[in-house]
């Protein structure tokens, strides 16, 4: 895509991108998708929401077109640790520090943001919201504690979008 075409597209594209990912068949691993699902239900005109099974390079164009990207994923909580929502600012690592042993069909949020910078010269503000997750059994529904984490994560995402939309 040419720079001018990319600029044109970016000006038409909503500034916020929320990407929720995880395996919806494995219990609390669906937490990221549940958050994204709920954000989509807000029907905000300034937010694009993507629900995906894995993070893949095909998301890079969407990332490059956003001003702010919020990744949402389940975060396995070790026993005894507090079950808080973690919010972390993502900083693309210098090229020399980035290792992508296999990026054919899954990558990390930081790798995708790095790739967007390399390919499109654009590195949007990027955040990772980790929803506390406890039970990853096959076929199990979201646990009650993970559901509570989803609600807390939604409050954080709403606050992030509101503060940046101003």
């Amino acid at each position: 895509m040419s720079a001018s075409a990319a600029d044109g597209l970016a000006s038409l594209t909503p500034p916020f991108l929320v990407i929720g990912w995880g395996n919806e068949l494995r219990g609390d691993d669906a937490a990221g998708c549940r958050v994204a699902d709920a954000v989509e239900g807000w029907a905000r005109h300034d937010v694009v929401v993507l629900l995906v099974h894995q993070l893949t390079p095909e998301l890079i164009e969407n990332i490059a077109n956003a001003r702010c990207v919020i990744f949402v994923d389940a975060r396995a909580v070790p026993a005894g640790d507090p079950a808080d929502v973690h919010v972390e600012r993502l900083t693309p690592a210098p090229d020399s520090d980035v290792h992508a042993p296999v990026m054919g069909h899954h990558g990390s949020p930081a790798e995708l943001v790095s790739l967007a910078g390399l390919l499109y010269g654009v590195t949007p503000e990027a955040w990772l919201v980790g929803v506390p997750a406890f039970d990853f059994q096959l076929g199990a529904p979201l646990s009650a504690r993970a559901q509570a984490g989803v609600e807390a994560a939604l409050e954080r995402v709403k606050s992030m979008l509101t503060s940046r939309a101003a």
């Binding site: 164009e61 042993p101 296999v102 990026m103 790798e111 790739l115 390399l118 390919l119």
Partner: protein, 474 residues
Amino acid sequence: MAQRIVIDPVTRIEGHSKITIFLNDQGEVENAQFHVTQFRGFEKFTEGRPFQEMPSLTARTCGICPVSHLMASAKACDEIMAVRIPPTAVKLRRVMNLAQMVQSHALSFFHLSAPDFLMGMDSDPRARNILGVAAKFPEIAKDGIWLRKFGQQIVERLGGKRVHPAWVVPGGVSKPLSAEVRDQIVADIPQAVAVARRTLDWYKPAMAKFTEEIETFANFPSLFLGLVGPDGSLEHYDGFMRIVDSNRKIVADKLESSAYAHHIGEAVEPFSYLKSPFFKPLGYPGGIYRVGPLARLNVADRCGTPLADRELVDFRKLQAGAVLSSFHFHYARLIEIVFGIERLAELLGSSDILNPQVRAVANPNRSEGVGVSEAPRGTLIHHYKIDGDGLITWANLIIATGHNNLAMNRGITQAAKHFVKGSKIAEGALNRVEAVIRCYDPCLSCSTHALGQMPLHVVLQGPEGNVLDECVRG
């Protein structure tokens, strides 16, 4: 003292495997083995399930090529129902099958193998990946990402999701194509053609830098197996099985899918969960054959679309008879991408593509069904038997990658003997041995089956095969 070199895991492939290279007392490569270390068990745990569930169940064999399993499985179910599915349903299944082939080949070429071509086989492994390609060759990286997205979006638009779409069903497809979706797909075709053509434009001259690899990467005479259409043209969904030898002389032709077991046997080796299919008339292991893009271009008389056929003329100039070097799987993949895009355009332009009649409905009318299609990696066979209630009593899956098992083993031995020398093992030499496997773009998630317990047996062997040490579990 004899040594073993172990590459574990093999990188930039789908699934898990390892390679063992056996050295003699002089430190020369004696032999090499390709071990597939995964356990799946689909043939066993699908017993007792209603046959109609098989497309959905077997699609879960893989997250990269689920569409291939949907195709072969649905065709096996069509046979059990004894139906001929509506013509529009055939076309729509072909559209999805071709789209998946384009995205799968794009993944293999750009993400998994292009780092070797562009960064160099001996380059720093930390940069020999898609990020390294993106840093040095951003336009090529963008092309690869775009082309894969093109194929995946077609699958998603037709089936509702990119991975494990539920749209291909026994009897046809679950819903017709809308004009809106057709137009969305067609709008992207010119760019897809442009990406495919400019990829060939840089790749073809780049092959000149890899003459040593071309000479030694699984370059040996073998049979080749693939589907062809009634007129002998390139085929991915239906048609007949054809086998040619290394002179491109037809050895067997117009083989009905349902009779595959008369021609193909399966052997088991103790060092891998991947079985070794072979051509029965020549026995095991003499009946070694290859499948996949290289094989398909060797068995077909023509592609059947204009741009792909023009590329096929150049491809055939590589060698009289069949093209034998497995390095040229990569070139064949690019030609198939061109073919896939051209054929997609033809299918979507046909007058009945929007016809709402897309599914035949019937109860079981046969107790057995075989479905054969071409997955991106090669010929895929699903064979089911059912009881009076329509429940699966037996299933056999011969997976594309499995057909290539003998060839992959022979290929890594050939490459190891050429590139691995002496007591100092260069990283580039080991990368080349791995790269032989990558030529085949194996999908090891699909191709392994085992029954019962999963034993683990590690053996250290001396040059005479004497056991120096071993441990056993299970």
